[in-house]
């Protein structure tokens, strides 16, 4: 197991991502942040906390999206759904989708489909903590990247969060 981001690096990376999002969305009134269930919300929770430190909190619209019912591998395996909570309209908004690891791009494809069932956003951007380059199976590219890594198929990226796994760290695991 090789460490990709240590606790300290992870903290700095999330801060940077928060600032980058703010840089492009100085006025957050027309922007919504959406974390992807189940794992992306650990990142989005922290990202939103960072953004709150920099701007007035009442402007932040933050939701959670579960994409289980939109998956393209439903015929292979049954997945259990998590809670979706988008308590605002996304019609005409700039949406920032937030997930932990971008790999094949299939989750994001499903998320885009799911998102359109909530309305027609003006623009959708993607923010990920780890981008596994050269592994994409669909034409999807992140707008904000914590760290890009090269990993082979047999390797797995594991993201640990303190309030769930007891530590903050990102590791590369050989299977």
């Amino acid at each position: 197991m090789k460490s990709i981001l240590t606790e300290q690096q992870l903290e700095i990376t999330i801060k940077r991502l928060a600032h980058q999002v703010l840089e492009n969305h100085v006025d957050l009134t027309n922007t919504v942040l959406i974390g992807l269930q189940p794992r992306g919300v650990f990142l989005s929770d922290q990202l939103v906390d960072e953004i709150k430190k920099e701007t007035s909190t009442e402007k932040i619209q933050y939701g959670k999206l579960d994409i289980t019912f939109y998956r393209d591998d439903i015929r292979k395996e049954l997945h259990i759904a998590n809670r979706t909570d988008i308590p605002f309209s996304i019609e005409g908004k700039n949406v920032v989708l937030i997930d932990d690891v971008l790999y094949t791009g299939r989750t994001i494809r499903a998320a885009l489909d799911a998102l359109l069932d909530f309305g027609r956003p003006e623009k959708v951007e993607l923010c990920v903590l780890i981008d596994r380059r050269f592994s994409r199976q669909l034409p999807i590219h992140p707008d904000y990247t914590g760290k890009s890594i090269d990993a082979i198929v047999s390797q797995k990226v594991k993201v640990f969060w303190k309030n769930r796994d007891g530590k903050d760290e990102v590791c590369l695991v050989n299977d």
């Binding site: 049954l78 259990i80 069932d117």
Partner: protein, 311 residues
């Protein structure tokens, strides 16, 4: 995690985990039904036949809507106007339909055990939408879902099932489910409409006094008097039934708490339930119907044939 069964024949066969999984998944589908686009593509590749050998409004519409909101293709079968009227057997009818590449069967039948019989003979997933006087599992699930939604939990909840217990598949499914989930059940009705050994066989309490039962319970699930299933006279008149066992405004107002009133529909107004109760804010009858779609979506989604050789 997945269900321990391929079919939904009855609550009897489900585990506590199965029930929790269905109710949890139904929560997510309830959220889907609040979206601007109330539809997900999950069952795009699945074809479902709704076989109704017995009349139904709510259940059939509810299943059909659930199927459509999961993007499944559906065909409907009603016994009148079909070849069953010409004497085709149940098994022949279903085999013929399945040969047209149908993946799931939703069936209501007046014979208890009809879906269990089918499950032994055909490869498709079968969902029981009510079989005779045996079970109506999706009604049991949606009742439990509605109770949990309204009161927060099922464990320890005091539920009274009132009325025609003898002929009620809704009562059976409710009793199985509530027992498994740790709720307390009392059945109430005239002695002629309550099976003799129900206390010993199902571990429920029996009380022939409506007022006492209402004083005890948190939820009153009032059942329909099923006149079409009664071959003999089990009470003297509907009017007398209403006087002794009809749930009335005055009875509820005299309780020292506000109980929740449920009914699986269709209501015989003025018989088992008075209109001023059915239409009051204590009643969650229409929420039950609304929740029914989400619960049936969950059942269909979780049983949607991830079985081998069914691609």
């Amino acid at each position: 995690m997945s269900l321990s069964t391929r079919h939904l024949l009855g609550i009897k066969d489900l585990t506590v985990d199965d029930i929790s999984l269905i109710l949890e998944t139904a929560e997510q589908f309830k959220e889907v039904l609040q979206r601007p686009v109330k539809k997900v593509p999950s069952l795009r590749d699945v074809t479902i036949v709704n076989l109704f050998y017995e009349n139904s409004t709510r259940t059939r519409f509810s299943f059909e809507l659930a199927e459509k909101r999961l993007s499944a293709d559906t065909i409907n079968f009603a016994v009148s106007g079909s070849s069953a009227a010409k004497g085709e057997t149940l098994l022949d009818t279903v085999r013929n339909i399945l040969s047209m590449k149908v993946d799931m069967v939703v069936m209501r039948h007046s014979a208890s055990g009809a879906p269990h019989f089918l499950a032994q003979h055909i490869p498709a997933a079968i969902i029981n939408a009510g079989d005779g006087v045996n079970e109506h599992p999706t009604q049991g699930l949606l009742d439990a879902f509605s109770m949990r939604k309204k009161l927060g939990k099922l464990e320890g909840l005091k539920v009274a099932i009132i009325g025609d217990i003898m002929h009620s598949r809704v009562a059976m499914s409710n009793i199985y489910l509530l027992n498994k989930m740790g709720a307390k059940v009392t059945v109430c009705g005239p002695p002629t409409l309550i099976p003799k050994y129900i206390r010993e066989s199902f571990g429920v309490e029996v009380n022939y006094n409506l007022k006492e039962t209402l004083e005890w319970c948190d939820v009153a699930n009032v059942l329909r008097i099923q006149l079409e299933r009664q071959n003999q006279v089990l009470f003297s008149s509907l009017r007398e039934y209403n006087i002794a066992y009809g749930v009335k405004r005055k009875l509820l107002d005299n309780l020292n708490k506000e109980i929740v009133v449920m009914h699986p529909g269709p209501i015989n107004r003025g018989v088992e339930l008075d209109s001023d109760v059915a239409d009051s804010k204590q009643s969650i009858i229409l929420q039950q119907v609304e929740n029914g779609v989400a619960v049936r979506m969950a059942v269909l989604y979780l049983l949607s044939g991830r079985n081998p050789g069914n691609n």
